[in-house]
Point group: C2
Chain length 366, copies 2
């Protein structure tokens, strides 16, 4: 019997991605594995069942009963785990932080689970790095949402009735999402600046043709993330930022560190100092927001400034987001395979560090 | 007493533009005119009353009682005309087609009204051409809406997990809106093609770096618009277009002729032949749509293809749209002034051809 790699139709609200695309089903089958999907699993992503030439389809119950490895985009309801066979593997964005009941359920059903968010951000892990691939989609989409919601044109426009000046756009946080947001604003012709407390990002921001906004606060941290600022540093940062913000039409903020609440960078007072009609898109809404006025999933108007806190942005470009995600998943799944069997090597740090549960035990404390 | 140029807060649903901006108020005052606005007139466009250094503010009733020239973005309710003084001028997009009651009301109240949509599209009229300036905003915004709603990335994206191919985008109709839509798709990195029945548009499409889609049907018309196609030409066009449409991820259609229903270019059968997940944004929704499935203002799903029919797109970027619109209005108003008094010269074709009503008589049959 070949190993069965399975995926369900995602059930989280608004989720349209799928963990296994037709391209990846073909690749898995090429390796001698069987791909089994819940009927309609890819439909919302733009992949109707008919375009999967290399997958079988069944009901959710049948899929779970036969799965050796269940791939998912977001964690299913805990009750789903009970329907998997003992020893089955679960791979995906399992949202490991602050979810002890999920980890307990995985352990209780003797599943071996890997949360791809926990992969160390090493060179070898890049091809499996779902945080990066999905952040790229999020950054791109955040800037499109900003451009669409802005009362101004992004590009300069020269018309018979005179010239329209380009918008001034600031991107806060120059991680993958921030850099993609900067690239998109630049493509659209906006005058774009990028800000990050990590000084090493200056070169990346400038390589995209944007200006690096230097507020004189530096906070290089570990693992590529910024460290938390001291109270004094925060005060200096906020004072300098408040002054600069007055010049911008659009701010897209992307500062986030997995497993922690997003740093509060934009205060109500700073928002009140912005131009009437200015727009803030807070990409960190999911983890509480970079702006203290952000309400996740909502539109807030405050003194003439609009603050948007969109959620799950990658799900809004589900076809390409799924393509990248499924490649990440399959690259990780290859780590787990040996001679056509599932045999995770826990001496491999990518395997060990992403493991949430194994042999009935929780391996991660969220 | 100086001439009073006035504007109200626009009342059409969703309308956020304003006919007189702070910049144009300053210009008018520099010419010795008085600017009088309804309180809050520019607020939705991003111009609170406080930023108008050169205007007075009053209630709508007071504004109308004192106006010598009322500038508007869209026509107000007919009842508003009764509040203007006999002989006052009205200038704006007065939607002259199919609106005999509006023209009758203007005449009945002995107003002199100019519909800027009726300006001949000559070189001299370019600086007053509201159709062009607002179409530029509409084309830009239509493509942003398309990019945001599309399940795919527009640009190519190279990631550690492989490459994401750029989207293929087709723009139907290469007028001002279509060309701006093409420019925006190109900026965003999409593989972009443009199609128009007017062969002279090829060069414009290609100058934006897009490919001209040649379906072998040519219909150069008058005034820069296409003539209507014969039944045979339409059949040839549709057959060729149906074949090409299968390749595109996104179609933005912009074919419209003022005062006529939009040509039906995209049939249900053509939509059914498109890729699952494909997207159509029908800019002609306001005049019935280029796609026979379009429902104005709504989102239609048909066999895996999404059809959006957005309305009043310029109102969505009200600050810049108002800036351009107000410049158009003021450039036209200058035509009407002589030695600081309002004295329209009806021997000027720009004045004569845009006139809807004058001295108690209707001058235009919609």
């Amino acid at each position: 019997m070949p190993i069965t790699v399975a995926a369900l139709r995602e059930t989280a609200a608004g989720e349209r991605r799928v963990a296994i695309t037709p391209e990846m089903a073909k690749k898995l089958r090429g390796k001698g594995l069987r791909v089994l999907l819940e009927r309609g699993a890819g439909a919302a992503a733009g992949f109707p069942d008919t375009v999967y030439a290399d997958a079988d389809f069944a009901s959710a119950g049948e899929v779970l009963a036969q799965a050796d490895l269940l791939a998912c985009v977001l964690p299913p309801e805990d009750a789903v785990f009970a329907q998997l066979r003992e020893g089955a593997l679960v791979v995906g964005q399992l949202r490991p932080y602050g979810a002890p009941s999920r980890i307990a359920a995985l352990a209780a059903h003797k599943l071996t689970a890997f949360a791809l968010e926990l992969l160390p951000r090493t060179t070898r892990a890049q091809a499996m790095d779902v945080l990066s691939s999905q952040a790229a989609v999020a950054g791109y989409r955040a800037m499109l949402i900003a451009a669409e919601a802005a009362p101004k044109f992004f590009p300069m426009l020269t018309t018979a009735a005179g010239t329209i000046r380009p918008s001034k756009v600031l991107v806060i946080g120059a991680g993958v999402a921030g850099l993609q947001a900067i690239a998109t604003a630049r493509r659209l012709g906006a005058q774009t600046e990028g800000y990050d407390v990590r000084p090493e990002t200056r070169e990346q921001v400038e390589s995209l043709g944007a200006k690096f906004l230097d507020l004189g606060v530096s906070a290089a941290g570990s693992g590529g993330y910024a460290r938390e600022l001291s109270a004094e540093e925060r005060a200096a940062q906020q004072q300098a930022l408040a002054e600069h913000l007055k010049a911008f039409d659009v701010v897209v903020s992307t500062a986030a560190v997995p497993g922690r609440a997003a740093p509060k960078i934009l205060t109500a007072a700073m928002i009140e100092g912005m131009k009437p009609g200015a727009l803030v898109v807070d990409l960190a809404a999911e983890s509480g927001g970079n702006c203290e006025l952000t309400r996740p999933g909502e539109r807030v108007e405050h003194g003439g400034v609009t603050i948007l806190g969109p959620l799950n942005l990658p799900a809004g470009a589900p076809l390409h987001a799924s393509e990248m995600y499924a490649r990440n998943v399959v690259n990780f799944a290859e780590l787990l395979l040996k001679d056509g069997a599932l045999a995770p090597d826990f001496d491999d740090e990518l395997v060990a560090k992403s493991c949430l549960a194994r042999g009935g035990e929780a391996m991660f404390k969220g």
